[in-house]
Symmetry: D2
Subunit: 457 residues, 4 copies
């Protein structure tokens, strides 16, 4: 499975609601964007209080933690999984003391010129305590702040130095700020709750979760500043082409989010629909691998007229601490997560839809299980083009040697997986799947064409 | 939501596999049958070792616990949620020292004459340490054991004293036993893994999870004995009508299980199908409330020809420790668990399918959310008849005063929920939904007609 | 180190104080009597609520647990360490439902005819769920209760069946009861707090901890009943010789407790004092191995005129989860727990006092450390006679093959330990060490003479 | 009670011992120097791995954590208690990426010109993520490193910028470094284990705990460098007067440590001895408040000829999570921690020795308990001069308004405490208590005279 790099949330409540609990709810709605760690920083009387730890939102925060985080405005973060011992040190938000007091920041995205910028800073004496791009941006902003009277100007200037994808929420003693990189590669939107509360979130589902009204997406390059006087916008960096990461629609975002005008669920249905045109096959039933293939399968079924069904069940209790029954029986894992509905697929020609193929081992297992259950034909349909290139902008794609599509033709892949047929989504038709999107998109992981320069080395 | 009372598992491996890990996997597959507590007892060289605690299977058991549970045969249990401080004391399996050494037992079901039997035992000096029916059956079996030379005979005799539903796994120093009550109200099946390993489980999905082959269901009243010499059956108590709890198909069991010959998923699709006949309505889309309404919605859509879709998203990270954002905003809970796909339902007439209505508050919220998102009509279809009677056999139905259907007509309910129409599944057609079942069923919670006498008081 | 088997506590507050918190404090003061597990059962409106778990009192109970244990009277228990997975199931108090409702019991001591009594009960159908003598006494009391109208009469009758040591606290729906075995082998005393609150505790230090006034010790064989009408006493079983376990004074009890009239600290000082007479030696300094040898060393120093000093420091942070640095360096453990004051012992002839020698390995290490630090002579004085016999009444003495004194002469032991001289306390002078005690004592672990018959097998 | 600020440990093993476990043992021996948090950073193949968390050493580190910290050299840290939510972020060691790779540092002491230095750095763009002086020194060292080819030279230069007390351990990709401030205010010593392992520790008791040989104390201003080629010393900053914190002897350090030539235990005995000369009184018994007054009491008793005894018992199980029985009964706390030996003090004139008086409330309680137990006279002797000034060098002295000695005369204090007499140690005789010390000392908290300039504001 591919990993998203994080989700961010910000809230400013002029009337003094309980911002930590709202942030908790918002982060919880975006848990799918990061399960390793999470954190909330609140601003109470111009001082910033922070709590963050490894674990899911519901594991890290309880009443005791939230009660200590009273305040008027807050930012929060969920972080993707990783395996480091020192994980909590890389958790976000980061809070620093810089020349003008405290600063808190949380980031979704990846800075492609980070290495060069870090080296430059170190050569003037800087020390880094994490491996995050957030810390780098903190340093840059601190230095810009020396030249200007306002935190938001320092943010605007900092943006000119970094390249790559970023949706940021930033908190100074008096302001909540947010910005999106000039290509708008990662989503970020604005909501409102009552008259006096503004909300910033990576995805609109986080607004829904606290019943905030969706106002609009943050524009590429735009800086949002929220304080006692309300919300204002700085558009000095708004000149690039808007190129949202297409994989937000394909996999990352939650179905119920609407990103840059386009419903994620409808985009996924469109992927299935077009796939049914480009890779049709006669069959008795279409189903999606739960949960990632469900939406596209609905679209495929509707467009093809082949009945939609449920071919597999997922065990909802799979958690982070699941133990393999025995070392010798690795194969069982798939079975413990997914199981086939035997009486439903028996004697049928089935179309199985999933969102992607990475290594191909899971697929092969599923096909085998379907055949054991008596499916007469198994047709695999993938609702994305094959991954063939790295992503430098926040998607954690495995190395080429591990990517099945980099090492085999589609025909070879089909054979290895054991399917009767296999088809990927045609990269040239991606545009049609997001008809309501107000922007272009980056499909670099499929094409190798990126909006920003690739990092050296 | 209604609660099931437990799932049981047993395994006997003549070749010395790692039975605790197999039991772990089997219980994990049946986690939906009980989330409060779980336990595993293994038999190693005729001694029984036990570990049990509150929590999900993946929370209670880790390598450390499983490594201490080496053995040749084992039984396991998952238990439904409850709110007692002393929960762990009621967890199962129970292990006792009785006249012939150790005995372990785990139970799914409810004994309807328990109060009378307990009183009788206490009046001859017995003391009880739990509130479980399991302990009662332990006492009865211990007393029967005094009159006979074999544990299994004591089990057969004990069964003659108790009334109600029970699927049991029992472990003596030398044998693994299992039995099902004479009406077979709770499911129980037998599987085989390789040549020498027998498996017993409440549901066939647990067999699948360890890739065991399904052999057959345990017959109503049958006692299974597994030891060094293999598996044998005692049918002295096999005379009753087989009446499986219909709610196993409607809600309790996992979609991928096959119980008494009938696929659970197909039964649910049939519920939707027949409902589309008995309560048809013109609409643009059918969807199921995730996850409980999905299967019936697929059946409804297929039979009616109305497109199947996804109208709502469920947050998969809802866990046991979820905190309400604020006391004042109880309403938000629904939103945090379920969210509407706005662009998908907007301007549409939708049919929303769910498995049951208990208090009606959740339903009302969902209808409101759909209308806010722009649905033009909302038709509610319930894939079960209305609950109107208590269950004495293992289903935790709320009291009548809390059951909406006990206090309002369907028309009133529809109005309260705010739907354009509301229909329940017709109780008289339940039989048609399980065409492959080899047995009759109990629908006492809908009709008040029970296979066993109701308990006094 | 030898292990004590448990401490008990009971409290009845007619005015409705917070009995769980008082019990918490009392158990905390007796933590030295049992570190494995602890529990509190309270009686609220004739129902008994229980919480118990593995761990120290401060680990098991927090505000959350205590807040759920509101009530008018309570009993509590601390339990000695053991290594079983299923520890919590053997924790106390035990709570049962017997013929007359609920019954809770907690026990300090050991029943020497338990095996025979258990067998008899099992042969009439009883099942046991723990390995505790408490459960056995519950069964016996339940059966006696059938023949009598009062719980306390059942307790009195039960006492006639069991042999061995026991200090019990018992709670029925309406009464708090306590009793001590007819030889009074384990301590138990009564205190009062204000006008209306009675307290029962294994040791008087528990009364001090809640500032309760010490009233008197419970008499051997006496049953105490406390209810709405106050405290009364039943002396039907008060006929035996009072023989307190001498090891309560030597090691088990806390220095500040006064048991059966005798200060524990003064008894220990007397042990040192007499030892200085029976095993005098010229030296520059006397010190005690912390903490067990301190009191006797003070007595030795005072009587001999040799200066008292501190020869070693103990690391107070040694806890239950301490990790050995490496497998290869087992020796380091001693050093991590105890360290020598080098500049203090250098060039000196030292007398090191400890309470007992079990295996002798720790002693040998300490002597080596003293010599390395430059002590010119090391004289070991043990403030108890050598262990040579098992204890059947609640002290967990290792097997004979592990007891150094069973396998070597004192001279050989001295050589093995590497000391310049070694002397034990003379068994015939034990009586002199407890001049204020109102009773005789059991010294069976030193002499093999026991107040009750030894168990068969 | 006053708080020490931290203990440090370093180890370099050319032969590849298990340095994390050795560090664990060393930190455990210095747990008294900091109970809030602890951490270990190891160097494996020039990369630094870190684990740190809140809690005691035995709570934070288990086999799982230590097994992930394999390496050739390591540094470790224990930190004093504090009440911040974000505690783990201030835990040490700190690990950073600076211009020459990774750098780890741990610190005991306090930098008195920190505020000015931080401001200066921030004004050139630096950002700080903790409130530690360690981070400040990291920044300074990173900047010095730009001007020089060697890490140790950067350390030497950094030392010239900071004022205050510091004992540091520092780890670069290839070297273990350590240094002590030019006044040597905090202790630091060097040990050796076998031929090839060097050890650095705040106190010699940490060397003893792993059976390392004590080599010598680090000199004031000295920098120690340990690498593949062994240990070498840089003495560029060795010009100041050596002024060890006198409170290390009075209270902070462990009795068994020898600091700058002087045994801590002997220093404490000397405090008692001199106190018996300057504040003699007729009495029947001398005892120390456990544990802080024990050593001085032994000295007092020996010098005065009044018998040494045990007047109080401390409950060893007092931990960090202790719950007060009830809000209304705050007084009970003292009783739960300390209890009087009634039969021992009854009818006696007692001298009670403690190390200091801060607020005086505890003292008053103890005196009351002694009188209740029947002591006829209570004479309080304090083995330090009265605290009257703040400490800027690592001791956490309460504010003046909370210090009893700042607000009352000795006579008034005696009356408030309820003692028959009260005497403090005479500040002018402190020198005599450390006859073997190779250095002078700082007694600023008693006199207001400090070795370094006081910080502004």
């Amino acid at each position: 499975m591919l990993h998203e790099e994080c989700g961010v949330f910000g809230i400013y409540d002029r009337d003094g609601y309980d911002v930590a609990r709202m942030t908790y709810a918002g982060l919880f709605a975006m848990q799918h964007r990061g399960q390793e760690a999470c954190g909330i920083a609140v601003n109470r009387d111009r001082e910033i209080y922070l709590y963050k730890n490894r674990g899911h939102v519901t594991e890290v925060f309880h009443d005791a933690e939230l009660d200590q985080l009273k305040g008027k405005f807050a930012i929060g973060h969920v972080r993707y999984p990783a395996g480091k011992v020192t994980g909590v040190l890389n958790a976000q938000p980061l809070v620093t003391w810089y020349v003008k007091g405290q600063l808190a920041m949380a980031h979704n995205g990846a800075i492609s010129n980070a290495a060069a910028l870090k080296k430059e800073l170190q050569e003037s004496g800087a020390v880094f305590q994490t491996k995050t791009d957030t810390e780098l941006m903190m340093h840059l902003m601190a230095r810009e702040r020396l030249k200007t009277g306002r935190a938001e100007t320092a943010l605007v200037e900092m943006m000119k130095k970094v390249e790559g994808s970023y949706s940021l929420v930033v908190m100074s003693p008096q302001k909540l700020m947010a910005c999106r990189d000039p290509r708008g590669m990662r989503p970020l939107c604005i909501g409102k709750l009552g008259e006096n509360t503004y909300v910033i979130a990576s995805e609109s589902c986080a607004l829904d979760s606290i019943r905030a009204e969706f106002i609009r997406d943050v524009e590429p390059g735009e800086v949002i500043v929220i304080d006692e006087n309300g919300l204002r916008s700085i558009k000095d960096n708004c000149s690039g082409n808007h190129q949202i990461c297409i994989f937000e629609y394909v996999y990352f975002a939650r179905s119920d989010s609407i990103i840059d005008g386009q419903s994620v669920h409808e985009a996924r249905k469109n992927l299935g629909k077009i796939l049914s045109e480009t890779a049709p096959v006669e069959a008795d039933m279409v189903f999606g691998v739960p949960d990632s293939g469900i939406d596209a399968a609905i679209g495929y079924a509707e467009a093809s007229g082949i009945p939609y069904g449920k071919g597999m069940v997922i065990n909802r209790y799979i958690g982070r601490t699941f133990i393999q029954p025995t070392q010798a029986e690795r194969k069982q894992k798939v079975n413990m997560k997914l199981n086939v509905l035997k009486d439903t697929v028996k004697g049928k020609r089935v179309i199985m839809v999933d969102d992607s193929i990475v290594r191909g081992t899971t697929c092969a297992n599923l096909v085998e299980m379907l055949r054991e259950a008596g499916a007469t034909e198994v047709h695999m349909r993938i609702s994305s083009p094959p991954f063939v290139c790295p992503c430098y902008f926040g998607t954690d794609v495995p190395e080429k040697k591990e990517l099945m599509a980099c090492n085999y033709t589609v025909e070879e892949m089909c054979k290895k997986i054991g399917a009767d047929s296999l088809a990927f989504f045609p990269v040239e038709r991606l545009k049609e799947t997001i008809p309501n999107a107000t922007c272009g998109y980056c499909d670099g992981c499929f094409t190798g064409k990126y909006p920003y320069k690739e990092p050296e080395n």
